[in-house]
């Protein structure tokens, strides 16, 4: 069964271990600027939100790619980047509505989540389960049920 990476922003503590793990794994050094995931924090509100490639089923970055470098791998459901055929036109970084693909000006690499070949480092190092990697049906139900539980508490109070 296919797995998906779930982001639970409500559990994010803003520690950025995900960025550290990602950059260390991909770049061989701790360099959050080149991480494929970013946890942004709003200190006044005390809220943090992780952002990363969602591996869209119909991905704008794939649609605009003139060479097929950015493509959907049907077998694993991931949007993958083939650097060998990429012309560095950077249209993918323009097309992504979330800003989840960027180009590193120094190396010319497209910086985007590759799911670490099915074993994401960010999930391994997230200490608060804000990032989880789970089979997709269960994942969807988990989130659905978590909200249902809130309704249940409200019902208990009025009944």
């Amino acid at each position: 069964m296919k797995k998906v990476l779930m982001i639970h922003a409500d559990k994010c503590t803003g520690c950025r271990n995900c960025e550290l793990a990602c950059s260390f794994s991909h770049e061989g050094a701790f360099r959050p600027r080149l991480s494929r995931v970013h946890a942004y924090s709003w200190e006044r509100e005390g809220i943090s939100v992780p952002m990363m490639c969602q591996h869209c089923g119909e991905a704008p970055c794939v649609s605009v790619c003139p060479t097929g470098a950015m493509h959907l791998n049907e077998a694993n459901g991931l949007v993958e980047w083939n650097k060998n055929v990429c012309t560095r036109c950077k249209m993918c970084t323009v097309a992504c509505p979330f800003g989840n693909a960027v180009c590193d000006a120094a190396s010319g690499s497209i910086i985007k989540c590759d799911m670490c070949k099915g074993d994401p480092e960010c999930v391994k190092f997230c200490p608060s389960e804000a990032l989880t990697y789970v089979e997709d049906t269960i994942a969807v139900r988990t989130r659905n049920k978590a909200f249902a539980a809130k309704f249940k508490e409200a019902f208990k109070e009025v009944s």
């Binding site: 520690c15 950025r16 793990a21 260390f24 770049e27 360099r31 509100e45 200490p127 608060s128």
Partner: protein, 601 residues
């Protein structure tokens, strides 16, 4: 270099000179980084007798080798300077992301010298360094300053700044970063204010490199598992540090009403359990933290309305039981004001407690306190005094000097619960003997985090000792003081010791830096740093006479609760402490000890 960036940035505010120097690998090995390297630079470059608020004092921001890596809960930096509250060497520790960002910009240390002739801030964007005008933000509080500086530099910049209290040289002003994290104690914010430096703004695109990536990852995963399995670390995540209120009260060692007592019957109202139930929005972690003891909180009561972070245990105690107050909303509000204005919560609360004590005894009257009846338990009055202190208005102008100078100005210094003029925190040494010895011998005055014997004496980690006995406490203190000096220098958080110790820290440090540290060498570096700080203080004029506690802790027994009748037995422990330290009877390190630590000459 691996772990270290290998670069030090030096900025002279008097003449605007910006220079880059190589971080000396030999010194890095001996002093690790952070507090250690910073103290070594103070030792080499600053006369210990200098006026702390003069241009001759220096202000050093120092990250450790772990800072910027995923070593668990190890993203911290230190501010090292001569402290204006104590006159001792001061180093104050803070979390958040600022230290890591400094490393990504390419620097282990930032040394600030001299004094700008008008308010300025520093803008560090990798190797682009500018001293910029700060007239438009002078007077602004910490959140507004942070927002404004991000708007004119980089939206993701990390900002360490002072609030109005630091500008007005309140002697216990702190340096705040990312709005809510504080290099809190010993008045480092006043030193920054004295240099006309409002803020340091940093953005970095660089990296921290690792000597042995595979070995480092393995060592980190092992350390993480140990911390995550530790019950105290789990308690900190669930309830924050404020979980300690009930624990300390249950053993009768929660200082109450300026240490008039050590037990507070309604303490649970300001404890972490109450905080979680009534005010907590969610936990927050510093950079690379796996514990997340930070509390994002809210008070909805219109009287104390606010949102922010806190309170920590020490703050809830200082604005709570120490002032005879069990109102968590008021204590939280006082904490918010301190964060926004840039004040150390421990000294603030303890100074108000001292003033309340003097008011109760008729030494202070309504005339001095701006018409506010400053009795124990007056929550509204307490919050108002914090507000006044932050801007040095009315009686707040005196409070801004700390409890010792306040009490002394009325001829009654015995009302100040402080060591070397810095207020002792929330563990009563009459019920926990080892922590009293640590207060008395601490290199920055009354301080708990530089020798947290509470871990053993109260929490039973990694083993348990009876808090009431004195036997073995000198040894225990020395072990914690040395370990913490090394840990502070590495960039790790004290709370990581709930789960790991010198073994794990040395293993991670070796894999990260490629410099082999045995456990013994790591702890030895801590001992070296402790002794270096000690020598600096002796040169500043401190003597063995200053290694003591307020008379109240030595002579007035705790009146109620489980530790009733207890006093600190410091005189029993101190000579043994000197001896085990390898110091003479006057507390001076012997030649032999200095040679052993490579400090001779």
């Amino acid at each position: 270099m691996f772990g270290w960036t290998g670069n030090t940035l030096r900025i002279n505010l008097s003449n605007g000179a910006v220079t880059r120097e190589a971080t000396d690998p030999k010194l890095a090995k001996l002093y690790i980084g952070g507090r250690g390297l910073g103290s070594k630079i103070m030792f080499e470059e600053v006369d210990p007798r200098v006026d702390p608020l003069s241009p001759e004092n220096k202000l050093i921001f120092a990250a450790g080798p772990f800072t910027g890596t995923y070593a668990p809960s190890a993203g911290r930096y230190m501010v090292i300077t001569k402290g204006p509250l104590t006159g001792t060497i001061a180093s104050s520790n803070s979390g958040g992301s600022f230290g890591s960002e400094l490393k990504y910009a390419g620097y282990d240390l930032l040394i600030i010298e001299g004094k700008a002739n008008k308010p300025v801030y520093l803008w560090i964007n990798d190797d682009q360094v500018q001293i910029r005008d700060a007239a438009h933000i002078w007077g602004k509080n910490v959140p507004d300053t942070t927002d404004q500086l991000r708007a004119e530099t980089d939206d993701e910049a990390k900002v360490a700044c002072i609030g109005p209290s630091g500008e007005k040289l309140a002697l216990f002003a702190c340096i705040m970063n990312e709005m809510h994290r504080a290099a809190g104690r010993s008045g480092v914010g006043a030193v920054m204010g004295s240099k006309n430096l409002k803020a340091v703004v940093v953005v970095g695109s660089g990296k921290v490199e690792v000597a042995d990536p595979g070995g480092f990852k393995e060592a980190v995963l092992k350390a993480r598992r140990k911390i995550q399995a530790h019950p105290v670390a789990q308690g900190l995540k669930a309830y924050g540090t404020d979980v300690l209120v009930n624990i300390l009260n249950e053993i009768g060692s929660l200082p109450t009403r300026n240490y008039r007592d050590g037990y507070y019957p309604t303490a649970d109202k300001v404890g972490g359990e109450s905080l979680s139930k009534n005010n907590l929005l969610h936990p927050k972690g510093c950079f690379s933290c796996i514990i997340s003891c930070g509390r994002v909180s809210r008070v909805t009561n219109p009287k104390y309305l606010g949102e922010g972070e806190g309170p920590e245990y020490e703050s809830a105690w200082a604005f709570g039981p120490d002032c005879g107050i069990d109102n968590l909303e008021a204590a939280t509000k006082a904490n918010y004001i301190c964060n926004e204005m840039g004040l150390d919560t421990i000294t603030m609360g303890a100074t108000i407690a001292c003033a309340m004590d003097m008011f109760e005894d008729g030494i202070l009257t309504l005339k001095e306190t701006d018409g506010i009846p400053l009795r124990f338990g007056n929550a509204e009055g307490m919050v108002e005094m914090v507000r006044k202190t932050a801007v040095r208005e009315g009686f707040g102008d005196k409070l801004a000097l700390g409890s010792y100078r306040l009490a002394e100005s009325y001829g009654r210094p015995e009302y100040s619960m402080s060591v070397k003029k810095q207020e002792t925190p929330a563990y009563d040494p009459r019920g926990v003997q080892g922590i009293g010895l640590n207060y008395a011998t601490n290199n920055r005055g009354g301080c708990h985090v530089r020798g947290y014997t509470i871990s053993v004496e109260v929490l039973g980690s990694p083993s348990k000792m009876d808090p009431h006995v004195t036997e073995g406490k000198a040894n225990l203190d020395i072990a914690f003081q040395n370990l913490t000096a090394a840990l502070d220098s590495s960039g790790a958080c004290l709370f990581s010791t709930f789960g790991i110790g010198a073994d794990e820290l040395a293993e991670m440090l070796s894999a990260l830096t490629g410099v082999p540290y045995t456990t013994q060498e790591f702890v030895k570096a801590g001992e070296r740093i402790w002794n270096l700080e000690r020598i600096w203080n002796l040169k500043a004029g401190f003597t063995a006479k200053d290694d003591t506690l307020p008379e109240r802790m030595l002579k007035d027994p705790i009146k109620t609760g489980p530790s009733k009748g207890g006093v600190s037995q410091l005189p029993k422990m101190l000579p043994e402490y000197y001896e085990l330290r390898g110091w003479d009877k006057e507390g001076v390190p012997t030649e032999g000890k200095l040679e052993e630590l490579l400090l001779a000459g």
